[in-house]
Symmetry: D2
Subunit: 360 residues, 4 copies
């Protein structure tokens, strides 16, 4: 009922042919009130979307989208667009997104370029929906009608979402994370095949560090039930890798606590974890952001990455074990291009609508 009366939002997808772009197209072509109206890219400009796009995901390119022509990332051509999704590559994204915001467009970006601007939210709606108010500051400070909101690194989301209910409810001391990430996380062409067949590719210090930095910020923006320790006293580390899986970042976490903490309680906290998207019943909000499994050989990338409803929006957590009285181990799986990028972007747009930052 309500939906029938809703205003339909026309969205532009910048980088629509990319690995995140295709998930936006897939999700929005079935969305109740956000429609993919404008597909933009660079090398593929002028070509029919269906011809040029490597559709490295499930299903087929929707017929009505396949014939759309890819257009340049030009604000002037987007008069009737309400909203910009920007999964552009790092470096290219920054200035383009600013230009759009300046021209009055709401921009939801998956790129790293503005994530750490002090007046830009870096949003996982279940974790830090209250940070949307940074937009007001941003507009004021920059004198923009539009604005920029970002989503975090997929790897950081994979780590932070299961850690959020832990940090919110227990006296966490540290978290030591090992990631086994998929190829799509690096975009296309991304990782050379000769780096990955019969191999594991360590991602190195810089990647480890940026993961940790984003997890710190996300945890620091949670709404906690315990007030200590301060996030600054928590020790976080990530050891990151890529292997020859197509989608899905798998992560192993050892979490230490300042006091005795039971794995059962930790499990329960993750299972119960909800946020504003669930309260507001946003269309892209999974009933449970974290799905728990009890099988000791799950989650598996191939079988669990599309978990949840909408598919790929729930993180699957399993192998939760008491290591010692103050240490708990678990593993998690996040769909990097969905929950970790496009799906997170759409969920953020839905939140912005409810919060009055987008027309309803």
């Amino acid at each position: 009922m309500e939906r029938l009366m809703r205003r339909v939002l026309k969205a532009a997808i910048l980088g629509a042919t990319g690995l995140v772009g295709i998930e936006y197209v897939r999700i929005l072509s079935q969305h109740p009130y956000i429609k993919p109206a404008y597909l933009a890219g660079k090398g593929s400009v002028g070509k029919p979307y269906g011809e040029i796009t490597r559709w490295q995901t499930v299903g087929q390119i929707p017929k009505e989208i396949a014939d759309m022509e890819v257009k340049p990332t030009d604000p002037k051509m987007m008069d009737d667009v309400d909203l910009i999704f920007s999964p552009l590559p790092a470096g290219a994204a920054g200035p383009v997104e600013e230009e759009f915001a300046k021209q009055g467009f709401p921009v939801i970006s998956n790129s790293p370029d503005h994530r750490f601007d002090p007046d830009v939210p870096m949003m996982v709606p279940e974790i830090n929906s209250h940070t949307v108010t940074l937009i007001d500051e941003q507009r004021k400070r920059r004198d923009w009608k539009g604005f920029i909101v970002t989503t975090p690194l997929c790897t950081a989301q994979g780590a932070a979402i299961p850690l959020a209910p832990i940090f919110m409810n227990f006296k966490m001391e540290g978290a030591f994370i090992t990631t086994i990430q998929s190829l799509s996380g690096a975009g296309y062409p991304g990782i050379p095949s000769l780096d990955i067949v019969d191999n594991i590719l360590p991602l190195g210090d810089a990647y480890d560090a940026k993961t940790v930095k984003e997890v710190y910020r996300l945890l620091s923006e949670t709404k906690r039930n315990v007030q200590e320790p301060d996030i600054k006293e928590v020790s976080l580390s990530a050891t990151t890798h890529r292997i020859a899986t197509i989608q899905g970042h798998y992560e192993v976490a050892y979490v230490t606590f300042k006091e005795e903490t039971s794995a059962e309680k930790v499990k329960e906290a993750m299972d119960q974890f909800k946020g504003e998207p669930q309260e507001l019943k946003l269309p892209s909000a999974p009933e449970k952001p974290i799905l728990m499994t009890n099988k000791d050989n799950r989650p598996q990338v191939f079988f669990d990455r599309w978990a949840g409803d909408p598919p790929g929006m729930s993180i699957v957590v399993g192998r939760v074990n008491q290591v010692n009285k103050k240490t708990v181990r678990y593993v998690s799986l996040i769909h990097n291009t969905v929950r970790g990028a496009a799906g997170g972007g759409v969920l953020t747009a839905e939140l912005l609508t409810e919060k009055g930052y987008l027309p309803k």
Copy 2:
């Protein structure tokens, strides 16, 4: 000089056609004083070794070996054999190895069946060479002329060898390990292909537990420079997986300490780590059991698994980082069928020769 006068030992390899068996064949066909004299199996009995064997390793089957016929695992047929290497499957190995030992043969086993018999050594010569004396007890108790010595699980060796110098020199509190193991670790046919393409296979609770159990024992048998904490106070955990690599187990370790401990010192201890094999200059002893790398994208399975001299006998450790004052992180790579099985078995035989348990 000395070598010319050495007695040549004739070895039987039980399970010679298997993934560990082929590494025994490869290593022994170039060994200064142990020769592959008898190749035994089950399904392949009666067939020429070169015809029936899947040579899933480097190089070619040595010509003189290719024509040998695979024979049954029958002590009666091995009159002139001095020594048995037994990489037989769990379950099958146990009774066969006992029979051989009873018949007077020295047996070096890579299988798990007798690893936790209280009178059987579980040997990583650099770590616990002094446990050979268990053989005396074993012979006495069982009234055997022969004996059984085992080598540990490849995964446990991959964890324990880098941990040994740490536990020996620092006040370790815990070690939280994540493994990313290769397919060959499960033997042939082993892992179904549909479990591993575009997937990560969690190995589950039982595999996690047996890894930890063996690491505990190995660490408890080190010769320590610090006397605390007792191994029983140390917290160990392993989260184990397999992916589509052919050889080489990669492991990430987060090690916590009871007091401030510098990553630099830990590095140094690993770099300096040596044991009796190095002192005795055993032919299969690598100069350094642990090779350190400073590149933050190494070790890599494809490029580093054959590290050391003899190839595959050194573990490569890298990405050593200070996580916090009391926590250090590193990653390691072990060649599972060489250092973790056949190479370890041959090194053990060499040690036994020097210690008088095998003729010299």
Copy 3:
């Protein structure tokens, strides 16, 4: 309208947990008038389908199916079942299918056991729908109320479907086929991972021969527009392999003719190819059984295996080239577990309904 009045058929799926079984479940849970009512297996009997099944396909296990218990393949327990789909393994299938047919059940089998019984149709509905009448003979001869209809080997279908319009319309002399098949074609556990990583697995003489034998039969049952040469004068050969793809058999065909034959005309014939399923507008009939592509780097397994509507029911053909005046080359891609098995089975059931062999 019509559909509302149709009788709903209750189907049992024998081997429902297998790689073909899951495609039956996926397809039938959305089918207009055939419902999955009974799921049977062997090792998984007694367990909830959703718990025990490796869902190695797209989408999720339908909720209402996930809770169903896997039951034994016992005709006595299937009183209210109208129809049996039998993707049982070779050997196991034969006697079970006979028993069901004897007890009065219509059986559609994907297994090889009865394919070459002289009174059993081996059906690709677009090619040889007229052979359904063998059922009458079968019932008479065997005095059965039920009956058995089979579908061919997936590899043979992948070869025969594009060859059918060629053999029907041109004076074909020979076809020389090279297959690059996927892992799912061998079932689960199927191919050991160590046979397939960094390798190509030749399937050998027996597999080559059975492919050719089935293609001969299928072509001989086409309705031709040219009357020569006789199929016996046509030379067919297949060189078969498996590689590490999950689904989708890719095949390269060199077709030689007795007279000058243009690649353009051959293309047109494949593009125009239709059969009785299209005429009858059966629900599982794709509009085009063969979809032509002009891109010289397509079809690709990852991107094209789900082609058509219903997904996976169209074969994609490309790289059609004139080699010389009398030789044409093309490549094709078939979804082995859908078009080559479950989808073909469902299409056959739909045909049987229209032809009066199943209630409507």
Copy 4:
């Protein structure tokens, strides 16, 4: 004896860090009279070879080579170099090679740039060693002291070597080839991983065509025992693909003849095939350029690519079958970076030495 007196040739390897370059380094560091004296590259100039090189092959980087610094491809710096091996990328190779030849250096190139210059040999020494005399013409025409000799495309060699004895001895009508090639054939970074996991990558029209063009030339330069048909009347076609194998190009060939031709005779011709390298007993000449296997599941890429002595210099042929009286089928496997590039280059250098084009 003879070897002791031989002059040692100092070789420069241009592109020494590449996938072909590393095989040159591996082979020459064990060569009786050609030594790797100068390693040149572009991006890696100034760095120690052992630091910068991805050693994607067997064994380890030889110690004495690891410390050598990579230098620019500058003829002026190579005063004491006798011979240039040039596995440079297409485009880059052409002008550099000309410059070296002009400066008086003998250049053996694996790149395509000069392959079809009318005065440049394109050499597979077993097939067309007599074409070395083109060098005389080349020097005269271009007024060079140095010269350029090329080796063909790896894929073309894989096709042409088994076809050579067939075309030489039988009345061949056509050959229809399907290739399944490895990733290393495209150099590094080469094929993006997302193109190859769970996929087959068709190489398209241009790649098909260049393969055929080179095979034509090679066959036309064989020394034939039958004089018809002319090569121009022979119909050749190639359908080319890449999959996720690291080294080794696998090819399926259907060969048609103008008259009845027995598979046994064809086998024999391939088995007996020898050329001048075998007669001259060149150090890199395998005893048999073609090794025949009778197992119907061989050759396999993983197990057979290093066949022959020196390793990787023999092509393995199997699955030879009579398709019909005038058609024979077989499959072959060539090590693309060894026989198809560096090994072929070294063999060519050895031939040039014996023929007086290089000092002996």
